[in-house]
Subunit: 234 residues, 2 copies
Amino acid sequence: MTDHYSVSDKHLVAVDCVIFGYDIYDKELKLLLIKRKFEPEFGKWSLPGGFVKKDESVSGAACRVLYQLTGLAELYMEQSYTYGDINRDTGGRVITITHFALINAYQLDPVMIEASSAHWRSISRIPKLIFDHEKIVKKAHRQLIERIKVKPVGFELLPEKFTLVQLQQLYEAIYLRTIDKRNFRKKIISMNLLEKLDEKEKETSKKGAFYYKFIPARYDDFRRKGFYFNLDVQ
Amino acid sequence: MTDHYSVSDKHLVAVDCVIFGYDIYDKELKLLLIKRKFEPEFGKWSLPGGFVKKDESVSGAACRVLYQLTGLAELYMEQSYTYGDINRDTGGRVITITHFALINAYQLDPVMIEASSAHWRSISRIPKLIFDHEKIVKKAHRQLIERIKVKPVGFELLPEKFTLVQLQQLYEAIYLRTIDKRNFRKKIISMNLLEKLDEKEKETSKKGAFYYKFIPARYDDFRRKGFYFNLDVQ
DNA sequence: CCAAAAGTGTTAGGCTTACACCCATGC
DNA sequence: GCATGGGTGTAAGCCTAACACTTTTGG
């Protein structure tokens, strides 16, 4: 009998990463983009990516790409979608499994970023990207919006200590709309997942705003009891 | 400079299809499974699948697999998830992009099914499947549940004319729980997407139940006006 | 006339939304 | 003392969930 495995076509398989970051100072959701370092499309803006190797899993490849770019392991990462059109990459037939990652921009080593010629670009001012990368970004952003509504992943984008104002601004930056302050606070506080610290953030106001921190263990506990996170608020 | 494309590893890439069907008579959600026709795992239960060829897109490959198995084109199909662990397939390193499809089991040619040694199996009595196919099925089923809550795709699984009782039973079969009859009817009727026919289904009751049909054009119209489908009901 | 399935409304409570003023402090 | 941003409560309305009886008709 024929060996279906050995007679079948093989393909280049890549991973591309939509890396989201957030800047509490200019209050914008950002993407980590690179200038492509090889042909075709040398020097053009692109998502960070790489080919999947023989001896690594697809998610392993995504982690490697992230690690090589940022020096960070253990980031929040999720598979987004797989793009497999024949001519999506002008350099050859490449199937790409895209992922999105959330990183706290403050953990990031600026030297590393510089070395990779990577740059943060605001989600609302994305430059022209190669291939189908703009479509990939749009889809990942829609998925991020759905995700932060129902899973406490927004904290991955913030420093460990943050104010409620900062948390709300993060959600506004992702949703790309404003949120009612009182409704937002009521909802997040009522979930009982935050610890209010005694310390205040005093850079942005005279009165100062209390810092909070997210308690992952409490979320895990509540989840086991059937609780659902929800920050879908007007 | 090195050509990153030509020096990179290539992989076998497959598609696997989780094909959902529904039987209005035994009121169960079913999966179309096949007995594998080559080694390894010859003769074992498996999802229908196939390798992606050089000259076809990933979604094209999924359509081909579906068409070869069922003779049907233009089915509802959606990409589910990509599985890329190194040893997930014992026959070799294969990355698979899974899809789920919804088919109206009555359109299906039984001869075709027979020829492919395919069989419908109830979702609640899935046999042991090869590789990671059980995990694939679970994820696809969860995605189907989320999808039919917010998109009118359930009608793909029913004949063109159906009763409200049948529609509710379909939702119950997918959700794997009961739904309150009055709440369900109120909600689906209030969406104004169904046309009530004059004709009655009289096989299952003496009184008979009115047939309805789904009006896709009305859904498209409402969607454009910002309406959201929702059948997440208790 | 009776068994079997179809069909129908109402109410209570919870959740979402909308909305405006006081507080604390540095300058 | 005033400008700036932080922080707080309530009421209306909508949506969801719970719940039981009547209708129709073939046999």
